[in-house]
């Protein structure tokens, strides 16, 4: 058995999801990591440090710059014969590529895996996390996306050899990037953050949403938002947490002015501890939170920021 993990990266940085994805399949056999992109030497070097990785395959070509699903699926299809498991994190890229590759190889993929129970036995959430299904199969090859937040990262301390793989000469990207709109900021990566402060539509405006960002800054936390807050334009789309947004598993989630609709809860089920600040004691998030403060967020949050600063709490 051998696994090939597609490395996740952006702006020349290896994503924290990749060491977690490697760890998810490490027990199944040797793990190679494919780093595909434009100018990937630095990313390949970072991936080579992940403990347990046997080899880095670096596919350095303009063709892979924008993570084009067709180009990446073609590359993985060429490499597939050497592997029993082809694995990506359940990111925008992994979700785009793995099912496409699966269909080309005539295989059923298993996506959003939260537990690897054996070489061909996996657990995944369904119905927005309101149920967990265990699936198994007898296919010759397993195509998986891994919910990175459900796994611990593999340690560092390795110097895996880096080998170049040729780009497909005849391939062309199917879609051409016209423009990208990135959310600026220096907050930690939401998907892997240890503390997340989330804000709901109760914040009322993008300006007021800065209250959430301020509390997050004090705690060194990432910022999350509900779909309602994103739809209202208070927060960028990549901050959305939930069934259709990011899935997070922080040690601490602080949900402010968030009702806790089941689609939002789907994204925070992995949180170890939950704090809810809400004016409604009956809100679903309040019912499941470990610590609850009932009241007006516009009064409570500034006080909380001041108190945390007074206590010198920071991360």
């Amino acid at each position: 058995m051998a696994a090939l993990v597609l490395a996740e990266h952006d702006l020349g940085q290896l994503s924290p999801a990749t060491p977690r994805t490697v760890n998810a399949v490490a027990e199944l056999g040797p793990v190679d990591v494919l780093v595909a992109g434009d100018d990937v030497a630095g990313i390949a070097a970072a991936a080579a440090e992940i403990a347990g990785v046997a080899r880095i395959l670096a596919a350095d070509a303009h063709l892979y710059r924008d993570h084009d699903a067709k180009a990446l699926a073609a590359l993985l299809q060429r490499l597939a014969p050497g592997y029993t498991h082809i694995v990506a994190s359940a990111s925008a890229t992994g979700r785009d590529v793995i099912p496409r590759l699966a269909a080309v190889l005539d295989l059923m993929p298993v996506t959003d895996v939260v537990a690897v129970l054996g070489p061909a036995r996996f657990e995944r959430p369904i119905y927005a996390g309101n149920a967990l299904e265990t699936v198994s199969n007898t296919q010759e090859r397993q195509l998986l996306t891994i919910r990175a937040s459900a796994f611990r990262p593999a340690l560092k301390g390795n110097e895996a050899p880096i080998e170049a793989v040729e780009a497909d000469v005849n391939a062309a990207a199917a879609a051409r990037l016209v423009s990208a709109e990135r959310t600026e900021g220096d907050r930690p990566d939401l998907s892997s953050a240890q503390i997340v402060v989330g804000g709901g539509v109760a914040l009322g405006s993008a300006e007021n949403f800065q209250l959430i960002e301020k509390l997050a800054a004090v705690l060194g936390a990432a910022v999350g938002a509900t779909r309602a807050a994103v739809d209202a334009g208070y927060a960028p789309n990549d901050w959305q947490v939930g069934q259709t947004g990011k899935i997070i598993a922080p040690d601490l989630y602080i949900g402010i002015g968030i009702s806790g609709a089941l689609q939002h809860l789907a994204g925070i089920q992995g949180a170890k501890k939950i704090v809810a600040i809400n004016s409604d004691p009956e809100a679903p998030l309040v019912k499941i939170a470990d610590y609850v403060l009932v009241g007006d967020l516009f009064v409570l949050v500034p006080e909380l920021i001041a108190e945390l600063q007074r206590l010198g709490v920071s991360r």
């Binding site: 925008a92 785009d96 059923m108 149920a131 265990t134 879609a175 051409r176 739809d231 259709t244 709490v313």
Partner: protein, 252 residues
């Protein structure tokens, strides 16, 4: 252009589902079913393209039991021109759905296939990408905007870092995210009119596709319960609780 739009019937998003006691799955008897929310956005996008004069025909297709006629009727009421039910009983896997859709694409020869980004029952997020692979067509998943250009489409996609716009030629696959548009609520006259529109029913077995599932569902269980906790009386208590949680965190 001609547009094919794929719609799935699922347990309504407002239903709090229950796992069956025998762990065989989720209780779907006597619960409200409706069109997968993402598919409403896909239908709306297709109808808007038709209204803008970019498309002359919108065909709604569903793979499912006779009950799935309902979601096709919803699509017809929203403005799709005709419907096709590919009738199949029991669990139909995503790869099978994709293969059936490919067979329909081969017959219908659409320029664009619109789907939802994920079905909220199995949360698979697979079929559009699979169809892209089977047809070797370009795909733009998680779309929050679609514009028609001289050479094809410009689609804005929701990415992990924000959004990005991609140009792709036709024919193409696009999967809809929730911010793509606001689906219309079809009024009674549209619902009445929908009943007059053509709705063909064809058995899945007629498409030459292997319908047998590849995955065995061994069990379905509910998630671990969260205990719920303490109501705190003051900011100082909350700050102290946060402070001790932070102090206990392992450095990662």
């Amino acid at each position: 252009m001609k547009i094919l739009v794929a719609v799935k019937q699922v347990v309504d998003h407002a239903v709090r589902v229950r796992v069956r006691a025998d762990r065989s799955g989720v209780e779907t008897d006597n619960v409200r079913l409706s069109m997968n929310p993402f598919d409403k956005h896909a239908v709306e996008a297709a109808v808007q393209l038709a209204e803008a004069g970019h498309a002359d025909e919108v065909v709604a297709i569903s793979v499912g039991s006779q009950a799935a006629r309902d979601v096709i009727l919803t699509a017809l009421a929203m403005g799709a021109h005709r419907g096709l039910l590919v009738e199949a009983e029991g669990r139909v896997e995503t790869l099978t759905v994709a293969k059936l859709l490919r067979a329909v694409v081969d017959e219908e020869k659409p320029d664009l296939v619109l789907l939802g980004k994920q079905a909220i029952d199995d949360d698979s997020n697979q079929v559009g990408q699979m169809l892209g692979g089977l047809l070797d067509w370009p795909q733009a998943t998680f779309a929050s905007a679609i514009a028609v250009t001289a050479t094809g489409l410009e689609v804005t996609r929701e990415m992990d870092y924000g959004r990005a716009t991609f140009a792709l030629g036709l024919p193409a696959i696009v999967t809809a995210d929730l911010r793509l548009n606001t689906p219309r609520n079809a009024g009674l006259p549209m619902v009445m009119k929908a009943r007059q529109k053509p709705l063909a029913v064809r058995p899945a077995a007629n498409f030459g596709v292997d319908l047998a599932p590849r995955l065995t569902v061994e069990q379905v269980v509910p998630p671990a319960d969260r205990a719920g906790g303490r109501s705190l009386a003051s900011i100082s208590e909350l700050a102290a609780a946060i402070s001790s949680e932070v102090a206990e965190m392992e450095l990662r």
